[in-house]
Structure formats: structure tokens, C-alpha cells
């Protein structure tokens, strides 16, 4: 059988999904202390709405959004606000955070649904959007764009399709796979809600063919609906929005444009699940499934974790690091960020903690001159010439880099993966992007 995929570029790194794909989601015990960043999304940070010493319940708002592109932040455990602090996020930025602690003798007081609205699909789009916004839902694939904004396209951009992104094309990661396998109905219901909000009659779920069990489950859950579950050929970066839309609908998002320019909204599997829980039970986004995997961790797992839990505790729950561990990444190894500090908390967009062994992890190794082999050109899914971007950036010719479509690069890393001269192309591109205006 031949499955669809995007035509241009793409690579096939070793998948390594087998490490954790068969491990069921395990609910991690509530931590004693959580550190909840007030900026867990793209857009304006939240303003703290609690004070030190204040008692908070799990699910209570502790940070209110400032501005349209923002999302509230909630306490993930019941306890007392003990401090405001700043934490170093893997992207290299210090962000303000609220510390919530539970007294040692105090039992878990987990979040409980106050309601069960079985008729959620009958609510008005604005009502549902309100619930999503109040729940603080952001894109959980890693981009963390506030979901209520993404599903509020301007009138002149009519939407006719919603796609749930179950590609999970990053090597190692298995969280979306497990969510589709274990909560298929929630994901499908979440998609139905998104379709209702956007007034769309056609929904899609795109899954790569390396997750046949998830495909079966999702097909079952989607039976009798307007939702098509599509099996896709394995190819990185299929999970990138533009590639996924091309793979499923053969539509090409214009350069510099957004999915809504071709009438599509894409949401991640985890996000769809969160949308369902928010619209039915009023559940805020205070926990998520995180794959803790890689060759450098003793027992890889998929953990359901409270937002704000330090990464070190996830690693402990998975048996700790092997002596060979060399690099710990937030997200996948192609686009994720290396941790500086294992006290960094899990946030809404943390899809995985990948522990690479020293032998597999790249560092700041010596690199060669570009030999112009053109592998990067063939690998680029955006049809760019990464070698030229790399060379221009190296020489400081940033305006020339822009002329070679610098800002169409979404930093998937395919070029850098294939480069035989081991050039840090993505790094050079990131640098160039900071030196010229789009």
C-alpha cells in the first residue's frame, strides 16, 4: 500500500520509537512542589494573580493573560504559594514562575471536575472557545501557540478543514502515539469540538504508518463521523504544519503564510484531548503526557505529569540516568532544546524528555568547509538552499541570506542532519534571523 506524504525533501533519521512506544501511560505521583512559569506560550507572559502565602487549589488561575495572544496559567497542585522565582527555560530565556508547595503531611487534593456537560457539542462556538481559553490551552506539540487564537481566524480566511496532527515525526517521542492509543475517543471528540467551533464539516487525523495500533484505534473512534483517519508515509518533518497539510490535502501554504491561508487549522493530538476535557469537564491544562525516553535513561516511560514538575523528578521516576547519558533534550532530537538545568519544570509544551547517550549526541564539534554536495538542498522540505544560508551567515552577509528566503526556514534541522561537513546550519540560520528584519 502506498501512503501519501509531502513531495519535497525530508529525511529518515532512525526512529527509536520502540524504546517507549509499548509502555502504557503512567500517572506520576503529585510532586510536593511545582514551579509554574507564567510564560508557557508564544505571546505575552501572564501576570501573577496570587500572592506569596496564598492557598491555591489545583486548577485555580494563578496567572492571568495580558493581551490577546496569551493564555491563563493554573495551579497544577493544591497547596500554598511559597515564592516567586525565575527559571531558566531550555530555550535559554529566564521566565518568571510561581512556586506552589504542598505541606509534607497534606494529602493529594487532585483536581476534580465540577461539572460534566455531556452536550458540549450543542454549545455555541463562542461558549466553547471561552472554555478553551479559560482552560489555558496552547499547542501541545511544542509550539505552544494559544489555541483559542488559532481557532479564531479572521472572517476573510474561511476554514474548511481541521487536521489533528498525529504524525509525531520526531524520533524517540511516543506521547502522542500513547494518547491516540489510550484516549482515542477524547481525541476524536476534541476534533469534533474544533470542527463545530470553526463550522467545518470535514476533519482529518494524520498518522504515520509506524503507529498501526494507534491508526486502528483512531479509525474505530472516528467511525460514523466526518472524520478521515489518514495513514502517512514515514518521513521527517511530516508533523510540521505546512508539510502535514500538503501530505493530507495537497494544499500548499503560501510562503510566509499560515495554514488558515489555505483554509486549514492544525492541532496536535494532545491539544485535541485537552480541548475535549476542557469543553466537557471544564478541566484546565494542568497536566500532560510526556515521553521520557532515549538510550540514556534506565526505563523509558510515558508519564502523565503535572505542569511545573521539575524534569529531574521525571528522570528519577524512570529509574535515573545511565552513566552513558550525554545530553537531555526538551522535545525531540531534531527540533528540541537541550536542558541547561534539570530543575527546569515541565510546561504545557513539553512533549518529551529525550536522554541521548554521549555517543549519539552532537555537540559543538569541529566542522568542515562546505563541500557544496547539495544534500541539504535535497533534504530541505521548504525548497531552500541551506548551504547558501549557512555560508552567508558565516560571512555575516545577513541581507543576502534573507534574499535566499531565510525566513521561510522553520528550523526542522533536516539540512544539518544530512550535512557531511557537520556544519551547524540551523544555528547559523538562527543567528542570521536575529541580525536582519523579516
Amino acid at each position: 500500500m502506498s501512503f501519501t506524504t509531502f513531495p519535497l525533501g525530508g529525511i529518515h533519521p532512525p526512529e527509536r520509537k520502540e524504546l517507549a512506544s509499548a509502555v502504557s501511560i503512567e500517572v506520576m505521583p503529585q510532586p510536593q512542589r511545582v514551579v509554574i512559569p507564567l510564560s508557557q506560550h508564544i505571546g505575552a507572559p501572564c501576570k501573577a494573580s496570587v500572592e506569596v502565602g496564598q492557598e491555591v487549589k489545583a486548577g485555580e488561575v494563578i496567572g492571568t493573560p495580558e493581551g490577546f495572544v496569551s493564555a491563563p496559567v493554573h495551579a497544577s497542585i493544591t497547596g500554598k504559594v511559597t515564592a516567586f522565582t525565575s527559571v531558566l527555560m531550555p530555550i535559554g530565556r529566564m521566565v518568571q514562575a510561581v512556586v506552589v508547595e504542598r505541606a509534607a503531611n497534606r494529602p493529594d487534593e487532585a483536581w476534580q471536575p465540577a461539572e460534566d456537560d455531556k452536550d458540549y457539542l450543542k454549545r455555541s462556538p463562542d461558549e466553547l472557545k471561552g472554555r478553551i481559553k479559560a482552560a489555558g490551552i496552547v499547542g501541545m506539540g511544542g509550539a505552544t501557540f494559544p489555541t483559542h487564537v488559532k481557532i479564531s481566524p479572521p472572517k476573510e480566511k474561511p476554514i474548511d478543514a481541521v487536521i489533528i496532527n498525529g504524525a509525531e515525526c520526531e524520533p524517540y517521542l511516543t506521547a502522542d502515539h500513547r494518547v491516540m492509543l489510550e484516549y482515542p475517543e477524547s481525541v476524536i471528540e476534541g476534533l469534533k469540538i474544533l470542527m463545530a467551533i470553526l463550522g467545518v464539516t470535514k476533519g482529518y487525523v494524520g498518522i504515520e504508518s509506524n503507529k498501526p495500533d494507534a491508526i486502528t484505534k483512531m479509525l474505530e473512534a472516528a467511525k460514523g463521523s466526518n472524520i478521515e483517519v489518514r495513514t502517512l508515509q514515514i518521513k521527517y518533518p511530516q508533523g510540521a504544519e505546512k508539510m502535514l497539510i500538503k501530505s493530507i490535502l495537497s494544499r500548499e501554504v503560501p510562503a510566509g503564510g499560515l495554514p488558515m491561508d489555505v483554509g486549514v487549522v492544525v492541532q496536535n493530538v494532545g491539544t485535541a484531548n485537552a480541548v475535549y476535557e476542557a469543553c466537557r469537564y471544564g478541566k484546565p491544562l494542568i497536566e500532560r503526557v510526556v515521553s521520557v525516553t532515549g538510550g540514556g535513561i534506565k526505563s523509558p516511560k510515558n508519564l502523565k505529569v503535572k505542569v511545573g514538575t521539575p524534569v529531574s523528578q521525571l528522570i528519577e521516576t524512570c529509574g535515573g540516568l545511565k552513566p552513558t547519558a550525554g545530553k537531555i533534550i526538551s522535545g525531540g532530537p531534531m527540533m528540541g532544546f537541550a536542558f541547561y538545568d534539570l530543575n527546569t519544570p515541565v510546561i504545557k509544551g513539553t512533549s518529551g524528555i529525550v536522554v541521548l547517550e554521549q555517543k549519539d549526541a552532537t555537540g559543538s564539534d569541529k566542522f568542515y568547509n562546505c563541500i557544496r554536495c547539495g544534500r541539504c538542498v535535497d533534504a530541505c522540505p521548504m525548497g531552500l538552499m541551506p548551504l547558501m544560508l549557512s555560508l552567508f551567515s558565516e560571512k555575516g552577509h545577513y541581507a543576502d541570506a534573507k534574499d535566499y528566503h531565510l525566513f521561510d526556514c522553520f528550523e526542522c534541522g533536516s539540512c544539518t542532519y544530512v550535512c557531511p561537513a557537520k556544519r551547524p546550519i540551523v544555528q547559523q540560520i538562527k543567528l542570521a534571523k536575529t541580525q536582519v528584519k523579516p
Partner: protein, 333 residues
């Protein structure tokens, strides 16, 4: 949480994994795929073929070493590129040369053409071909004195003779057929390599075996070689005949001279060919047309070397003019 005591964690920018491909691996692999060609060269031209090739490789390594030493750069002999240049240069030489020609030519190839332009990746021209061009212009007689190919391991001086293209140029196709007996015999001798020529260019089969490996591994694509061979064949068919247009014999032209070696190993040199699909096809076609122009109309019987060197000049221009099409840049219908 510690990852061992001295075992600090690495922090760097994504992607955090890379393929196992490397410059060294590519250079040494290409070098290895030339082995069948080299062996056939030795088979036909004897121990002298080994000596010429070794002199080219030694000259290349010495040139690379001394220029890098003088310039205070890291010595990069182990990346294999100097060995590859030397080997390719050797494959492009007749077996009958005095020792100083291979040595001086490899100096021109590696020291001048490559290192003085900035080293690996920065050279404008194919180093091995520049070395050969220098030799051909400086010692025209020595560089066109071809040994008669015989399975000859005595090291005795063999008879010299003309190359098939030389006969074709001077005396025409009929003479060539007379020398080789029949058309089928001519084709089969061209394929096997039983003919006069540079020591690595005569055995088409050996070259194709190595090239097939490179194609399967994805080290080269067919874009340049196919366009190169197709345009030579087309040009030979249209303009190569005595009885007017469309009467030429494309196969003789495709199988003779240095075309196969040039198309698969020289024109595909990463550094000096364009990087985009369209650009590469144009580059290949340009090489082919110039080759046939030289073969049919210019003073030299063979034009592969000059055509590639001329097209090398156009590579930066082609890369500018034939950029890739950005995803989403298509005009709306």
C-alpha cells in the same frame, strides 16, 4: 541529578542527532569505487600505470601538506580529498609519462587550483582536470603519446598508437572501423577498455561499476551524467555524420575518450558543479554540448576536460540563476 561526576551534559543547538555521513567517508568511498578502473588501467598499461598513479597521489599529498603547513592551517590529509584528486589525475594521464609530469601536474591541481583558492570547498575548478590541462598544454607531445593496450606486465616499452577519437578526428569513422574490424568489435573493445587512452578512461565497464555503487549510495545522482551523455549522444547523432545531419554514430562518441570518467567522476565533483536539480542538468548538458563541439570542430580530438573546466566557470552563475523554488511560492492558478 547527576550524569556521573565528570560526565557533564552537553548543551548545544538542535538538531541533536546527525547522520553518519562525513566528508572523509565520502572522499574515501569515491576513492574506493575507482579501484576497478585503476585495476583495468594496470591490466592494459602495465606497471607504468601504477607508477604514474602513485606519483600523482604522492604529489597531491605533498602539495596539500606543504601549502597547509606554510599557511599555518590544520593538515587535512586524512580527509581523503588529496588522495582522491591524485588518483583522478592519474586516471586522466597516459601511462607513458616521465616522472616529473605527474608530480608537477599534481602540484598545479592541489596546491594552486585547490589550496590557493581556499582549500576544500572553495576551488572554482576541478583540481584534477586543472592539473591535466596544465600538463596537456605544457607537454602536448608527452600527454598525447598513448601506449598500445596489451595485457603487459613486463614493464617493457609498448608500442604507441592513436586513440579511437584521434583516428576518428584525423582519418574518419571508416578508418576506425578498419582498425577495429567491425562495429560490434569496436563497441565491445570500447566497453572493455582495450584501446589507447588515459589509463583510467578506457574501460567503460569498470567506470560504470564504480559509478553504479555511487549512484546506489546516493553519493551522486544521474542528473549531471545523464544530461552530459545525452547531449553528447544527441550532438554526435545530429552533427557527427559525414552524410549530413542525423547520420552520426552516437554510440562511438559516448563510449570513447574520457567521457564516462568525466561524466561520472569529474563533472559530478561536488565543489565545482551546481547544487540545484535544474542547475545540475543544465551544467551536464553544457558539458556535453561543449564536448561535442570540441570533438567535431576544434583542434583537439577530445573535449571532455575543457568542457568541464569551462562549465566550472559558469557554476556560480548557474547557482544564482537556477535557485530552488521555495515551498508555497507557486503562483496561484
Amino acid at each position: 541529578m547527576e550524569a556521573g561526576k565528570e560526565n557533564k551534559l552537553i548543551v548545544s543547538v538542535s538538531p541533536h542527532i546527525k547522520s553518519s555521513e562525513s566528508v572523509d567517508k565520502i572522499m574515501w568511498t569515491v576513492t574506493a569505487t575507482l579501484l576497478p578502473t585503476f585495476v583495468m588501467g594496470v591490466y592494459y598499461f602495465g606497471p607504468k600505470a601504477v607508477i604514474v598513479t602513485l606519483l600523482c597521489i604522492i604529489g597531491s599529498l605533498l602539495s596539500e601538506y606543504f601549502v597547509q603547513k606554510l599557511a599555518g592551517k590544520d593538515i587535512s590529509l586524512k580527509d581523503g580529498s588529496a588522495v582522491l584528486t591524485g588518483l583522478l589525475l592519474g586516471m586522466n594521464m597516459p601511462s607513458t609519462l616521465p616522472f616529473y609530469i605527474p608530480l608537477l601536474s599534481s602540484f598545479v591541481a592541489v596546491a594552486i587550483t585547490k589550496q590557493l583558492f581556499g582549500g576544500l570547498g572553495y576551488n572554482v575548478f576541478n583540481p584534477a582536470l586543472m592539473g591535466r590541462a596544465f600538463a596537456l598544454i605544457t607537454w602536448p607531445r608527452a600527454m598525447t603519446t598513448w601506449a598500445q593496450p596489451i595485457a603487459n606486465f613486463t614493464g617493457m616499452d609498448a608500442k604507441t598508437t592513436a586513440t579511437p577519437l584521434g583516428i576518428l578526428k584525423e582519418q574518419g569513422l571508416d578508418k576506425l572501423l578498419e582498425v577495429f574490424g567491425s562495429k560490434m568489435h569496436l563497441y565491445s573493445e570500447l566497453l572493455l577498455g582495450h584501446r589507447a587512452g588515459s589509463l583510467g578512461e578506457t574501460s567503460v565497464i569498470a567506470i560504470l561499476i564504480g559509478a553504479a555503487f555511487l549512484l546506489l549510495r546516493g553519493y551522486i545522482t544521474l542528473r549531471i551524467p545523464a544530461a552530459f551523455l545525452a547531449s553528447v549522444a544527441a550532438g554526435a547523432w545530429v552533427f557527427g555524420g559525414k552524410q549530413g545531419i542525423f547520420t552520426g554514430d552516437p554510440l562511438v562518441h559516448v563510449l570513447s575518450g574520457g567521457l564516462m570518467l568525466g561524466a561520472f567522476y569529474m563533472a559530478t565533483d561536488y565543489v565545482t558543479c551546481p547544487t540545484t536539480k535544474k542547475g545540475q542538468m543544465l551544467f551536464g548538458a553544457g558539458c556535453g554540448l561543449l564536448t561535442i563541439l570540441i570533438r567535431l570542430k576544434a583542434g583537439y580530438p577530445e573535449g571532455v576536460m575543457f568542457s568541464i573546466l569551462i562549465m566550472n566557470c559558469f557554476t556560480p552563475l548557474i547557482d544564482r540563476g537556477f535557485r530552488t523554488e521555495v515551498f508555497g511560492a507557486k503562483k496561484k492558478a
